[in-house]
């Protein structure tokens, strides 16, 4: 059999195998193929963790070397001194950045009555068409599917796969992600969805919603919702597009830098509470009903974070 012919046979066999895999994956929701992905995540996690530990200082070095070049260009006479300070500069900058990240997480945890576990990002998705990360905590740490994940700047995403020692998190910018949100100032409610590398999109339930550039968008917690109230999501970047008959939409720039995720918090449980009262609500007949403090208890006992809605799409949150 010549080489070209043999290649064709191998191609046919492997294309067939691929199609069998695709079909089996579609038909076995939560079946053995999902388990295979869990095994892959667990197996790769130690290698990824080691590589990530190596990568971060290297990235810091490159950043600081860039600064060093500009200093040299500006002042040749200080070359020797700059080189002598380089190593000290590298280490203090790295420590300062880590300190800032951890302080933001600590502030976030202290400001909210959440039960959380801290995690480090060990890997990102290999594809340009999916936005997920792998973190170094899993079911052994109390993590379960659908738990919210945050960092100091705001909402990161939610857990979609859990193994004993690691978990995968669907980032808020993934097209499969959606979350109930509201405008922090006017209280207009809606749903924010990811759009990959583009800005996120918030579709407001009310066509006359008064969203405007600069408005802060935060999560909104409905009964059985996945996310607690008030996690910062992003800031409105565009004027509302009211071309839809029943809704209006705006683009939202996320607060979180998804290319530089490091330490994150997984929210294990949070108290359900009424949303804070909205100041100076404009009178609108189509406004959705809102809870006011007198009508709902201010705080109830904590509930476990995940409230999976098995009948809906993976990223859909109600």
């Amino acid at each position: 059999m010549n080489q070209r012919r043999r290649a064709r046979v191998v191609l046919a066999v492997l294309v067939l195998a691929s199609l069998v895999l695709v079909t089996a994956d579609f038909r076995s929701e939560g079946g053995p193929l999902d388990g295979l992905r869990g095994v892959a995540t667990s197996t790769m996690e130690p290698v990824q963790r080691a590589l990530a530990a190596v990568a971060r200082p290297v990235v810091d070095v490159f950043a600081n070397v860039g600064e060093l070049w500009s200093i040299r260009a500006d002042n040749e006479q200080l070359r020797d001194r700059v080189e002598a300070l380089e190593q000290r500069q590298l280490s203090t900058d790295a420590i300062q950045r880590e300190n800032e990240r951890l302080r933001a997480l600590l502030d976030l945890r202290e400001a909210n009555d959440w039960e959380t576990v801290t995690a480090s990002t060990v890997a990102f998705t290999p594809s340009n068409f999916e936005w997920t990360i792998t973190i170094d905590v899993g079911s052994d740490d109390g993590v379960r599917e659908d738990m919210p994940v945050v960092e100091g700047a705001g909402l990161v995403g939610k857990v979609i796969q859990v193994t004993p020692s690691s978990s995968r998190v669907l980032l808020a910018i993934d097209p499969n992600f959606s979350a109930a949100t509201r405008s922090a100032s006017a209280g207009d409610v809606g749903v924010v969805t990811g759009q990959g590398s583009d800005l996120m999109r918030m579709v407001a339930d009310d066509r006359t919603a008064s969203l405007a550039p600069g408005d802060e968008i935060v999560t909104n917690n409905y009964e059985f919702g996945v996310f607690p109230h008030g996690i910062p999501v992003g800031i409105v970047e565009t004027e509302p597009d009211a071309s839809g008959q029943l809704s209006t939409s705006v683009l939202v720039r996320p607060f979180v830098d998804f290319n530089r995720l490091s330490e994150v918090l997984v929210i294990l449980s949070f108290p359900t509470e009424a949303p804070p009262p909205v100041p100076d609500l404009p009178e609108r007949s189509l406004d959705p009903p809102r809870l006011v403090p007198d009508e709902a208890p201010a705080t109830e006992p904590p509930v476990e974070a995940p409230s999976p809605a098995p009948s809906e799409g993976e990223g859909t949150e109600t």
Binding site: Q3, R4, R6, A7, R8, V10, L11, L14, V15, A17, S18, L19, V20, L21, V22, A24, D25, F26, L33, L36, R37, A40, T41, M44, V47, Q48, R49, L51, A52, A55, R56, V59, V122, A123, F124, T125, P126, S127, N128, F129, E130, T132, T134, I160, Q161, R168, L170, D174, P175, N176, Q195, G196, S197, D198, F258, N259, G313, E314, G315
Partner: protein, 171 residues
């Protein structure tokens, strides 16, 4: 053959780990090169269509297992077909020319990223915007064209030590 298969499997796992752990830190505008697709193309350019198909399938399967929202087997199918096409196209270009690997890397990477994006969009949980898919395809094509000489050096080294069966090695 067993030695080559073992080395290639180890290579695919190592590259997959590097792709997920290291490359996010060097992303350009949020996009990253796809090292596993690049590896497939490099072996197809060097060793021919059969190696391209085999390594493409393995590299694609590794990608599929590290994804969560797209169907398992989509990347395996795409990379195997790209490996075959690049390997088949190779003899039609001057094998010793400097530009042939660049053209094959650009064409193979652009088509691979485009097909993977479209299939992931159709078979995944949520559709991906066509402009985003086209942007990723163009980015992947350009970046892989720049990176292919480096990766070809690696594949030459491996194929010299562990030659593929019945392969006319091009140097």
């Amino acid at each position: 053959m067993i030695g080559r298969a073992f080395v290639l499997a180890l290579l695919v796992v190592t590259v997959a780990a590097a792709q997920t752990a290291l490359l996010p830190f060097v992303a350009v505008a949020g996009f990253r090169p796809d090292l596993l697709l690049l590896l497939t193309i490099a072996f197809a350019v060097h060793d021919g269509p059969e190696s391209g198909v085999r390594i493409g399938f393995g590299a694609g399967l590794a990608t599929d297992l590290l994804l969560q929202t797209s169907a398992l087997g989509v990347a395996a199918l795409t990379y195997a077909v790209v490996g075959y096409l690049v390997g088949v196209a190779r003899p039609y270009l001057a094998t010793n020319s400097l530009t042939a690997p660049l053209l094959l890397a650009f064409g193979g990477s652009t088509i691979g990223a485009l097909v993977l994006g479209l299939l992931s969009s159709f078979l995944g949980d949520a559709p991906t915007d066509l402009p985003l898919i086209l942007t990723v395809a163009a980015f992947t094509g350009v970046v892989h064209t720049l990176l292919i000489p480096l990766v070809l050096r690696l594949t030459r080294g491996i194929s010299a030590r562990f030659p593929a069966e019945g392969t006319a090695v091009t140097r």
